[in-house]
Amino acid sequence: MNQDDIDLIRKARQGDLDAFNAIVKNYKYYVYRTAFGILNHPSDAEDAAQETFIKAYQSLSKLRDERSFPAWLARIAMHTSSDWIKANRRHQEVAIEQSHHRTSHDAHQLAQTQLDIQDALNQLSEEQRVVIVLRMVYGMDYEEMAKNLDIPIGTVRSRLHHARLRLRELLGEEGGIHS
């Protein structure tokens, strides 16, 4: 995390809306991808990502150490997305809204692969999706994941491993990416 972001957080905490806008701009990819990875539905992910930033804005004053902001934001995004799943079970449906308007053969294959992965992610448990997102979107190591999820490192390791094995199995069945 760079000094600019730390300064932005400090300013936003004092009520500077431009600073908060810059934070949203800098972290929107992480937050949206976290929500999308867990919910696997574009509009739900958008709502959950927006909700994450609103919650972050409301409780920014409670953040003690600015350097822990990315992990703190990831935690909010995870909890918000999990709560979203509990509130409405729409994520079970395979998202078909995402557009893959490509014309070339390669692009079509890429789009198909993306859909296969989306479908495979949908078949993982919520807990497995969360560890996959933390690892792949935030690049967290096992220790950080364990700390954020408040679970032992062994559990993180096991969840991640089983999630990958399941994905390998599912993607193999789809015959998309490994063929």
Partner: protein, 167 residues
């Protein structure tokens, strides 16, 4: 699989979550064990596909604008709530003060002053009798004007708040 290596260790290897000596040990093992090598390659492939997948997930258009609109709206609501609280506190203090003046010993000087001013009020009352109903008409016109001004002012305030929210 007959290989004694725990599969979870292969995941740790792919994620670079092993101590350097353990990593070297597994790395050397992979040179000789084709079964483990195959698993590692598949796990790496899954990782690569996931990384590509998440890279292509695009944030919806105007996402930050929508977030900021919600933040601004939330701030405005909070300000209005604070102003309402202040208003009720001031009204409460005002009424409380009046009641205190009326009933408490500290209000005695005011009550005395009021008694002195009473003849003046009586003169004004006589004046109202003198001008007949004109006094009431003036008061009614003033009240209506005041209400219209308040309503227009309130509408203007709401319009300003709305336009600030939608910027």
């Amino acid at each position: 699989m007959s290989c004694p290596i725990d599969q979870e260790v292969l995941s740790d290897y792919v994620d670079h979550q092993l101590a350097p000596n353990e990593w070297e040990h597994i790395h050397a093992h992979l040179q000789t064990c084709s079964a483990c090598r195959e698993i590692v390659l598949e796990l790496q492939s899954v990782n690569e596909d996931l990384a590509n997948y998440f890279q292509t997930v695009a944030v919806p258009f105007a996402f930050e604008n929508e977030v900021m609109q919600r933040v601004i709206a939330m701030r405005q609501t909070k300000h209005i709530h604070h102003l309402s609280v202040i208003f009720y506190i001031v009204v409460g203090i005002g009424f409380g003060g009046l009641i205190a003046l009326w009933f408490s010993p500290w209000g005695l000087p005011i009550r005395v002053l009021f008694r002195f001013l009473l003849p003046l009020f009586q003169v004004l009352n006589m004046l109202s009798v003198f001008v007949s109903h004109g006094w009431f008409i003036a008061l009614a016109l003033y009240s209506i004007g005041f209400m219209i001004a308040s309503f227009v002012g309130l509408q203007w305030l709401l319009r300003t708040l709305k336009s600030e929210v939608t910027i």
